[in-house]
């Protein structure tokens, strides 16, 4: 009921938030922040950093609400801002962190469950090198196409494809190592 009410009043809320109404901004934040923190977490390994990125993203959301035309979904609009913010963070961090810490190997997944637990998925994805993981999440989870990924990451389309291929191959190796399932590549 609460969600339905929110969606009915979404336009009014956005308008108020755009005009600087703090309560409206807080309502929007409370509704979307859990999902957006999860979006940021997919790109940024550390949860604290992911939260920082999300906050920066929300600052941009509220500053640029006037440019939102109500043409696409509001969630999609915020999500794109969060993805861009996360990628910006990763780009900047490459200059700050000279030696990236090696991620711990993925733990052995629970064989009884029909599919991997969320924690195990994260372990698998986090074990991928940063470039592979970013392209994999953008393509598989967010549904971006290769030309869009290429533009977003400032790489060529073929690089995007090869990064996805390598990410899939690494994931397959991880899964085969744990004898969980067979993960082919397309």
């Amino acid at each position: 009921m609460k969600i339905i009410a929110l969606f009915q009043n979404e336009k009014a809320l956005i308008r108020k938030a755009r005009d600087g109404h703090r309560e409206a901004q807080k309502t929007l934040y409370e509704h979307w922040s859990p999902k957006m923190l999860a979006v940021c977490r997919r790109y940024v390994r550390d949860l604290q950093h992911a939260e920082d990125v999300m906050i920066e993203g929300f600052v941009k959301v509220f500053e640029n609400l006037a440019t939102y035309r109500h043409e696409g979904s509001f969630e999609g609009w915020i999500r794109r801002i969060m993805v861009r913010q996360s990628i910006d963070f990763l780009r900047k961090r490459q200059f700050l962190v000279l030696q990236e810490e090696l991620p711990e190997p993925a733990s052995k997944p629970d064989r009884e469950s029909d599919f991997l637990e969320l924690r195990q998925i994260y372990e698998l994805i986090d074990a991928l090198p940063e470039g592979y993981r970013t392209v994999f999440v953008l393509y598989v989870v967010e549904g971006y196409k290769h030309p869009e990924i290429a533009e977003l990451l400032d790489i060529s389309v073929s690089t995007s494809k090869s990064q996805l291929y390598k990410a899939r191959k690494l994931l397959q190796e991880q899964l085969e190592k744990h004898q969980i399932t067979r993960y082919g590549t397309r």
Partner: protein, 266 residues
């Protein structure tokens, strides 16, 4: 499991996921939003404003240092040199002495006023016509100064002649002399030959006169050099060289065409 299924399931699981932010996150975000929007934007313009100001300063500095009005040269925007209204640069203390000499005894300022101010005129110049003095009186005094100042060494430059100083009266008389010489030459040619002197001949006479003026102008007395005259001389030389080169090229081209036409006819 098929790869498509595997990836679809990963997508579903991840898209369903929600992570609650820490309780202080909204306060942090709220604190960021409290910062006025204009502040960030102003900061974005700040480097550009600094750059523009620096450029302006550099341009002004270059103009002041290299302009013809610098270091005692002639200000192109200043009064007409021929009118005799050129400001004479004199040292403040000399002017003070002159003023004391030229002023009537009743108008002399108190001795302690002058003793307390080592450079009273300079101060007056810096602060405009302040100090309770009438601007008209100052203007009168300024007008009197060139007449009272002796043509001795230039004390404003510590007795050293300005590097690019120009004797405008001498230059004007030189120009007049050269013009008269050109006119005499033209008149004489017309008398001798009986024919009208062509424009090209007058042009060449004028150019020769210009070169003579430039040559004499940049050999100024007291070993000073006029940059403007040097520049005009260099320009005329370059112009001449360019013209000669152009004629040479045209001549060569014409010869080639003529040879080609002759070859074809043969």
């Amino acid at each position: 499991m098929a790869p498509v299924d595997f990836e679809r399931k990963i997508k579903e699981k991840l898209q369903e996921q929600e992570i609650q932010p820490t309780p202080g996150a909204w306060e942090r975000l709220s604190g960021r939003l409290d910062v006025p929007r204009g502040a960030g934007r102003r900061n974005r313009w700040l480097p550009w404003m600094y750059a523009a100001a620096a450029c302006l300063l550099i341009v002004l500095g270059i103009r002041m240092l290299s302009g013809p009005g610098s270091a005692g040269g002639i200000d192109p925007m200043g009064p007409d040199p021929a009118s005799g209204d050129l400001p004479v640069v004199t040292a403040p203390d000399t002017r003070a002495e002159d003023r004391q000499q030229s002023q009537p005894a009743g108008e002399q300022p108190p001795a302690d006023a002058l003793a307390g101010e080592p450079n009273p005129e300079g101060l007056r110049d810096a602060s405009g016509s302040s100090g309770g003095r009438q601007p008209s009186a100052d203007l009168k005094r300024e007008a009197q100064l060139p007449q009272t100042a002796e043509p001795g060494p230039d004390i404003a430059n510590n007795g050293v002649a300005p590097a690019t100083g120009v004797d405008t009266n001498g230059l004007a008389s030189q120009i007049d002399r050269q013009l008269e010489a050109v006119l005499t030459e033209v008149a004489q040619r017309e008398q001798d030959g009986g024919a009208v002197v062509t424009e090209a001949e007058i042009d060449s006479l004028l150019r020769a006169a210009q070169e003579r003026i430039a040559a004499s102008a940049y050999q100024m007395p007291r070993d000073s050099v006029d940059a403007q005259s040097l520049l005009s001389a260099a320009e005329s030389e370059l112009d001449q060289t360019f013209r000669e080169e152009l004629f040479e090229k045209l001549k060569t081209g014409f010869m080639k065409v003529r040879t080609a036409v002759a070859d074809r006819n043969n």
